[in-house]
């Protein structure tokens, strides 16, 4: 009977392989039991209608989790999804626009190429947003399904069926420990912009001098040498991004967050100081420019030394100050 076949198929279609055949046989037997001996198509229809919607029955049979992200994680998922997709889209759009500003159009400048640029902007932005959504979703599905054994280790995430004790209670947030979300968002965008400039247009970092032909850029960095630093810069930027998302989610300082934050800023300081000291990266010629350094050639090397030292000192002071400040915040108690 074709109707029975189709009904049984509809119920078992989505079931796991190992139970499919058994359910199929049993359900078919049950349906045949419910029919009179010499049944007509009308009888079959009546029995199937009595059984009801096959998808509903299939759902009752289904032993797997029937959701990707459960209620315990759902609101967190949504917050992070909005944040990450929003940031990625903003930054992608910003980087694209920056790209246009710094690469003057040559031929075919006209309404048609503007339309093309505009549609390209929309396209990359939407693509960025979709990519971000995909990865955020994947991460949360992994947490939900307890893949990679990470679920229990994430702060603020507890599954409802885990055993619970009073020590699991969250501490009431102390206002002075708060990491403002707007600040975090700004930091994310800033980090991405700086990274994008260093990666795509490093020659833009320098001193702009106005002269008769418009602006001339005296680049600070030697582009060839910069290539050697790029992997470190990108890794650190990624590290920072993860840290920012973490800050955005937990919103309040804690010791572990502080430790990772400090590791990140120490690494960045080291990188900055190493780069400043690299004469192949920042050539003496940069300091030997009469337009903005009123010094004679003989004092250039000396001058550079001083600038680099002062720079290193500033970096160290800021890093230490920032670490102490953040540490004090983690220690603060409710007023």
């Amino acid at each position: 009977m074709e109707l029975i076949d189709r009904y049984v198929y509809a119920v078992t279609e989505q079931l796991p392989e190992d139970m499919k055949e058994d359910v199929r046989k049993e359900l078919r037997g049950n349906i045949e039991d419910m029919l009179p001996d010499d049944y007509t198509e009308e009888d079959v229809k009546a029995v199937l209608e009595e059984l009801g919607n096959p998808w509903k029955i299939a759902e009752e049979y289904q032993p797997k989790k029937r959701y990707l992200i459960g209620p315990a994680l759902y609101s967190k998922y949504f917050t992070v999804l909005k944040l990450v997709a929003g940031i990625v889209m903003t930054v992608v759009a910003a980087v694209t626009i920056m790209g246009w500003v710094f690469t003057p159009l040559t031929e075919g400048d006209g309404p048609s190429s503007y339309a093309e640029m505009f549609s390209e902007l929309i396209w990359v932005t939407v693509q960025g947003g979709l990519q971000a959504a995909l990865w955020v979703t994947f991460a949360f599905v992994a947490i939900e399904r307890e893949w990679f054994g990470i679920t229990g280790k994430i702060e603020g995430v507890s599954m409802t069926d885990d055993p619970w004790s009073v020590s699991d209670l969250p501490t009431i947030p102390v206002q002075s420990k708060k990491i403002p979300r707007t600040g975090t968002i700004f930091s994310i965008i800033f980090t991405m912009l700086v990274t994008a400039v260093v990666y795509f247009q490093p020659e833009l970092i320098g001193v702009f001098i106005r002269d008769s032909e418009g602006f001339t850029i005296y680049s600070l960095l030697e582009t060839d040498r910069l290539q050697a630093y790029l992997p470190f810069i990108l890794l650190l930027a990624l590290f920072q991004m993860i840290l920012f998302v973490w800050k955005y989610i937990v919103q309040y300082w804690n010791l572990r967050l502080w430790a990772v934050h400090t590791i990140a800023s120490v690494l960045i300081s080291i990188l900055l100081i190493v780069m400043a000291n690299d004469t192949a990266l920042i050539s003496d010629a940069f300091f030997n420019n009469k337009l903005f350094f009123e010094v004679s050639l003989s004092t250039v090397v000396n001058q550079r030394d001083i600038i680099v030292r002062v720079f290193a000192a500033i970096v160290v002071v800021i890093t230490v100050w920032d670490a102490i400040d953040a540490f004090l915040k983690t220690r603060k108690k409710a007023a």
């Binding site: 037997g29 049950n30 039991d33 009595e50 029955i57």
Partner: protein
């Protein structure tokens, strides 16, 4: 009102759902197959929807409260379910819990009627 009706309906479904397992376990001291169980419950004025019962039997089997066996001696193969040892134990416990609960509830509801 329509929404009150709907609410009552969904609450009724929830109430009944809790008793389904007890109802099904109570009938499985002897082996039964899906349709025979439906008929049996219908005769006892406790009809259960076929679409609910079949998946439920399977779930109880997976929880090891029921054991099952295919009977292929008849013209049509049938899967028979019966209480396992664990199932008997769970049933006895559930039954006494239910009796306590229904007595308590009856007493409380009675009180309110006064």
């Amino acid at each position: 009102m329509d929404s009150t009706e709907e609410l009552i309906n969904s609450l009724m479904v929830e109430l009944k759902r809790g008793t389904l397992v007890l109802l099904v376990l109570s009938q499985l001291h002897q082996p039964e197959y899906g349709y025979s169980l439906i008929q049996k419950l219908e005769e006892k004025n406790a009809p259960i929807e076929a679409g609910t019962l079949y998946p439920l039997l399977r779930r109880l089997e997976k929880q090891q409260l029921l054991k099952s066996e295919w009977d292929t001696t008849e013209s049509r193969p049938r899967k028979f379910y019966m209480l396992s040892e664990q199932g008997k134990e769970v049933y006895a416990k559930l039954k006494s819990e239910w009796q306590t609960l229904s007595q308590q509830l009856a007493a409380i509801l009675m009180e309110e009627n006064v």
